[in-house]
Symmetry: C3
């Protein structure tokens, strides 16, 4: 229904793996490499040239890599010069600029805007409309909810660019703002609409503007179960590598 | 000027009413039904397949219904499996996922992102960049202003999904966040950037993070008139069914 | 790579300057005028008709002007009836409605949504995902950061529409909301996620919800330099007209 090869353009220098599907009205530009079994839906641009293209007559598009088994939904723009792992998926209208390094099994939601020059580990899930400024470093299993913004300029406008750093398993709820330079530990929970300007230690829940630590996440009581949902990997395994074996066993095998 | 039938694709199983216009670069996919006199502008996808499509070789697109007299502006994506009433209109780049039930005379603004599995009554106006998470229930005459987010997971990430419920005539100002499970009564006014975690009674104005009721909306004094603008249906009738007859008379006829 | 003249449509009444490039899948509609050396990337619509088009059989598209040396990135929609200066640039998926007056050297970031009927001076930089409601007035050298919203209805929903006014050099940080009618002076700094409901005098830093002035920006101490970064034109000249000559000298020449 969607893969009719209408108005599809694939550069002669692009390399497509086995069984790759390209949607209608999509362009795959120079030096793009797409892994086996990936699906690129309609109206996408993969390998969008960086700014130099408009000025340099000798411009060559940097290499873009998208891993195998990925699903890129419609109207997504991925710049050239980014490297993205396997089993990547996006919603619609995602924008990913150059010099991103994205691990395996990541998901980026509709309308999210990754400004490039940043790193995401494995299994990061960014929901709709997340904005990641340049020079951000995000670990593994970090989930970021809609309308969250990662900033990087401490005195706007300046030439300083230092994004936030977020460690593994941390959850950042809806509408939060991470100010430049801030470091969040592991298993942190950032509350809805928190403005985080100071570093946050492992396992802290921070809320408010300015965000303050109010509790250890392990002491939060769930209305449903009467005990804490956190650390969440013990209570959530959909899509996670510890599915069916449990977090402890998986951690023992893989991280010790 | 915009309806030249360039690069338009209409599935043989789509059913278009009388006098329907389809814009350039738009695709109408399988089992879409569009009512009389509707206009679908350019670069839209109507009947976008749900996730099963990518996995199930026997996939059939669920039925999508868009009512008569609707105006869908460009770059909008409407998934298959949603039912939308008459006189619907959207801005640009709207995303509406599957299993939405939308009443008559609704308007959804540019960049708004409806995640599906939710209900809107009649005459709901969502302005630009509103995000409605799954399992939300929205009554009639509810207006929602830009950058408002409806959430649904009380302990992210979990498998619980319980969205907010909003009753008739309620107004939700810019940048507000409705937390999971919250119930808002009728004629509520949510202030700009409020984070609403507790239920709100009819006619309350709530502000802040966490949002607290501070006043009955009927006691708000307008700088322009020296009396309250609320309940707003007595003071606003543009596009409303009580236009020219007044809210009391209309209510007597239709709701008593 | 991107300018292959595939699926490009240019109205016979459009006027293109010398050396203008038009990207694939882009439409230039009636009565659009584009200055010399401008680049309009792929999938754009320039001269999108206003609402009357759908109702008035005698509709004529108002004139749209885009200045020379502009760079409009992909998926951008610019309505007819706006006048935009030279050296304008946009990110992706920008929406600009009718009756905007935009000066020279302005930049509008990815996903930003300008609702029309507003003014921007020269050298305004709006980053990603900024929402400017109707009837806003923005001076020169005003920088606005992501997820900021300019509102205009003091009692939603009403028929009153009075946007904010922002004077030269003012900086509005991430996630701020400007309430209707508010006036910001020169060299103001609005903190992240501030909700500004009262007028702000020149050189004030305002923070919080509701926003309150807490300091003169000239008294802010930079962690990097030990002195204030503000007024910022003394410390930032990238892309600014005082580059290489300094702000004082430039101001003496041009503004006294």
């Amino acid at each position: 229904m969607k893969f009719n090869n209408w108005n599809v353009h694939i550069s002669p220098t692009a390399i497509l793996g086995k069984n790759v599907k390209i949607g209608d009205d999509t362009s795959i530009l120079d030096n793009v490499v797409i892994g086996d079994n990936a699906i690129i839906c309609n109206n996408c641009i993969i390998g969008e040239p960086i700014s130099d293209y408009y000025e340099d007559p000798k411009y060559t598009n940097p290499k873009t890599i998208i891993g195998s088994g990925s699903l890129i939904r419609s109207h997504t723009i991925i710049y050239s010069g980014s490297t993205i792992g396997n089993h990547f998926s996006t919603g619609h209208r995602v924008t990913i600029r150059e010099n991103m390094k994205i691990g395996n099994h990541c998901r980026i939601g509709t309308l999210s805007d990754l400004q490039g020059f940043s790193e995401l580990g494995d299994y990061c899930w960014l929901h709709s409309n997340v904005h990641i400024g340049q020079q951000s470093k995000i670990g593994n299993f970090v989930f970021i909810y809609p309308y969250t913004v990662f900033t990087n300029d401490p005195h706007p406008p300046s030439n300083i660019c230092i994004g936030p750093t977020v460690d593994d398993y941390t959850q950042i709820a809806v509408g939060a703002i991470l100010l430049p330079r801030v470091k969040l530990g592991k298993h942190v929970l950032v509350g809805a609409q928190a403005v985080v300007g100071k570093d946050v230690a492992d396992y802290q829940l921070v809320v408010g503007n300015p965000a303050k630590p109010i509790k250890d996440v392990r002491d939060l009581i769930s209305r449903e179960t009467g005990k804490s949902h956190y650390p969440w990997p013990y209570n959530f395994e959909r899509g996670m590598p510890w599915k069916d074996i449990g977090f402890d066993k998986w951690e023992n095998i893989h991280h010790k």
